[in-house]
């Protein structure tokens, strides 16, 4: 993270130990290792998670420490492993199911939406599903329409699920610990393009509570609400805007469900303008929900309509020149922010 004016709140239960630099991928791996050591009921199941360590190599080394009984290579059966995860979670385990690409959750949707999300409610609160499904989002990896989508809106829509979207190694670690220790099904989306992103994490154990947004950069003129992959875009835009003397505040909700409405609304009330940036499809997406929350809660403070920037409503194309058109860029954010601030 190259932005000097970051004021990440690194909230309440933050670790205070020695800080060190890791990549987001390393942060995920060491979090999983720490939780596997801490709790014998935690296990990881998915396609190519053991010796292969996934195509992203995020899990490399885990099978060597924890063995094939806990780091389990599965058949290519997203519905089956998700369903097995639900049942194992209901009966004493804390499964972490790895769905390699977020695009594949379509295969597992009944297990996630009709089983995992509803078991606790349908049983009148008797049964619990402490399940984590880790998956990925994000385009621009040149993997075309079926390996590039950001589908977190689908699951954010469903009562009973929690949805986490880390944007830094620090957040990834704290949010993943919370996810694993939570008694509810959590869908944990990692931006596959951010695994090499570096950031500081403390040595000691810490968690980040769900439903607590983080102000990644403080500002006064416009609020940029950004999720996951779009946080870095928003921070880059904020740098560009600073050069134009526009002070942008970057707010990262970190979880879409539960959602920290208060922080979003308070920021928009303070700055009087807001843009919501998310890599999911713009139509009926996360940007729509967050924009509605801000419009509803900050209406009388706003000097401009709340604007949205999401992925273009097209299947993600393969050709790089086409794909690059489909996701929001720092330049697009900057341009829109200038317009909202009357600086055309």
């Amino acid at each position: 993270m190259s932005t000097p004016s970051v004021v990440s709140s690194q909230s309440s239960q933050a670790g205070t130990g020695q800080m060190r630099e890791v990549t987001l991928g390393q942060a995920i791996r060491e979090t999983l290792a720490e939780e596997l050591r801490r709790d014998p009921t935690v296990f990881i199941m998915g396609e190519d998670v053991a010796e292969a360590g996934t195509p992203f190599k995020v899990l490399s080394g885990l099978v060597e420490e924890f063995g094939p009984q806990r780091i389990i290579d599965s058949p290519i059966s997203e519905a089956g492993i998700s369903g097995l995860g639900v049942g194992a979670a209901m009966t004493g385990m804390r499964p972490i199911i790895d769905i390699m690409f977020g695009d594949f959750i379509g295969l597992a949707m009944d297990q996630i939406v009709n089983q995992a999300a509803k078991v606790h409610y349908m049983s009148g609160g008797k049964l619990r599903v402490p399940l984590v499904i880790r998956t990925t989002l994000g385009a621009t990896r040149r993997t075309a329409a079926q390996h590039s989508q950001s589908l977190h809106a689908w699951v954010s829509h469903i009562p009973g699920l929690k949805v986490a979207l880390p944007s830094t190694p620090y957040d990834a670690k704290g949010l993943l610990k919370t996810a694993i220790r939570d008694d509810n099904p959590v869908i944990f989306f990692e931006d596959k393009m951010m695994y090499q992103l570096k950031g500081q994490v403390p040595d000691d154990d810490y968690t980040i509570p769900f439903g607590v947004a983080d102000v990644k950069r403080a500002g006064t003129d416009i609020t940029l609400v950004a999720t996951s992959s779009m946080v870095q875009i928003a921070l880059a835009a904020a740098e560009q805007l600073a050069e134009l003397d526009i002070s942008a505040e970057v707010v990262d909700p970190r979880t879409t469900t539960p959602l920290d409405k208060e922080t979003l609304i308070a920021s928009a009330q303070k700055t009087s303008r807001a843009i919501v940036i998310d890599e999911g499809y713009e139509r009926y997406g996360v940007t729509a929900e967050l924009a509605a929350v801000i419009a509803d809660g900050a209406f009388y403070y706003l000097d401009a309509p709340v604007k949205r920037l999401g992925a273009m409503d097209v299947p993600v194309p393969f050709s790089p020149v086409l794909e690059d058109q489909t996701v929001p860029t720092a330049e697009a954010v900057t341009q829109l922010a200038k317009t909202l601030c009357g600086r055309v």
């Binding site: 009921t41 369903g83 209901m90 009966t91 349908m122 049983s123 609160g125 619990r128």
Partner: protein, 339 residues
């Protein structure tokens, strides 16, 4: 797919010993099957008299499968059930009164009225829940078997489903894993011939049993109307799974006496009245066991009649409890979304 296995020929002496030894169990099986039958008939009555919201899928006619399989289980063994699940819940030990309360959306119901007929779950009897998605609980049951193996608890999971679930891909995904990892699970396919309103001859190609055999799962096809045969077969497959020898698949041929659900009354377009009458007259699992109990002198007619009236009284008391029970507080609507 019509082959069924008859109990092996036995010596008269051996048979008499088996009868004596099993007498108590078969009397209990008789009672449990009647309890389910009267429960379901009561549900049908509640529906027809507009005292029950929603709908229900009745298990009448299939009682021997649930009772025979559950008699082969430990109290802490797991089951998952289906939309046609009242029989499984009762056979695994659920109480009639709390079942009725749930069906009526009442607060003392097993799920505080939030699940209803198609979602009854009862942790205390190992029932991980009925499921209104056909084949929807296959993953859950397999996951429960996975937990048992990981935690070394010795528990077995039973996954009940109908022949309709053979059309669902997830079932094959989890059967593959169960066999790969030798999970302690028994898949019980209740073949009642119909996928809702369509005969399975129109929906299901090839052999049902071979589907499981292809995964190297120990598979048996039996007459699901003979509770003693269901028990004996389930017992063997369950203990085999418990020993760590891998999953089993039990194909039980049976018949639902009612329609797909309580409102499915006009059904001659998909099955004949003659077929229904044949199964009710000749293949009723309660009659089959009752006749055997009489023939083997395990019980006399008066004893059976007494069990019958006691079961009826239990159901009558249970429905009264349910009807008189309070609805949940309105504030409960937002409770239990998250743990």
């Amino acid at each position: 797919m019509t082959q069924t296995k008859a109990p092996r020929e036995q010596s008269a002496q051996q048979r008499a010993a088996d009868v004596r030894e099993g007498a108590e169990q078969w009397m209990l099986a008789y009672r449990l099957m009647l309890r389910i039958r009267f429960f379901e008939e009561q549900v049908n009555d509640l529906y027809r008299t507009a005292r029950m919201p929603g709908l229900a899928h009745l298990y009448s006619g299939e009682e021997a499968v649930a009772v025979g399989v559950c008699q082969a289980l430990r109290p802490d063994d797991y089951i998952t059930s289906t939309h046609r699940g009242h029989g499984h819940c009762l056979a695994k030990g659920a109480s009639i009164d709390r079942m009725f309360a749930e069906l009526l959306g009442k607060e003392p119901g097993y799920c505080r009225g939030k699940g209803g007929s198609m979602h009854i779950a009862d942790q205390e009897t190992g029932n991980l829940g009925a499921n209104a998605i056909v084949g929807g609980s296959a993953g859950i049951a397999t996951g429960a078997a996975f937990s048992s193996k990981m935690l070394g608890t010795g528990q077995v999971a039973v996954c009940f489903f109908g022949d309709g679930a053979l059309g669902q891909g997830v079932l094959y995904e989890v059967m593959n894993m169960a066999s790969l990892w030798k999970l302690p699970i028994l898949y019980v396919c209740e073949n009642n011939l119909y996928n809702e309103y369509t005969h399975n001859a129109e929906t299901t190609a090839g052999s049902m049993l071979a589907r499981a055999q292809a995964f190297n799962i120990e598979a048996e096809e039996i007459d699901g109307q003979d509770v003693r045969l269901v028990y004996a077969t389930a017992q063997r497959l369950v203990e085999r799974a418990r020993r760590g020898d891998g999953p089993g698949f039990l194909l039980a041929n049976t018949y639902r006496f009612h329609g797909h659900h309580v409102g499915d009354i006009q059904r001659t377009y998909y099955r004949s009245k003659e077929e229904e009458e044949y199964w009710k007259a000749e293949r009723d699992p309660i009659t089959i066991l009752g006749n055997w109990l009489l023939e083997e002198h395990v019980a006399d007619a008066a004893q059976l009649e007494r069990i019958r009236s006691e079961a009826q009284e239990e159901v009558t008391a249970g429905v009264e409890f349910g009807l008189n029970a309070p609805f949940p507080e309105i504030s409960e609507v937002t409770e239990h979304v998250y743990a």
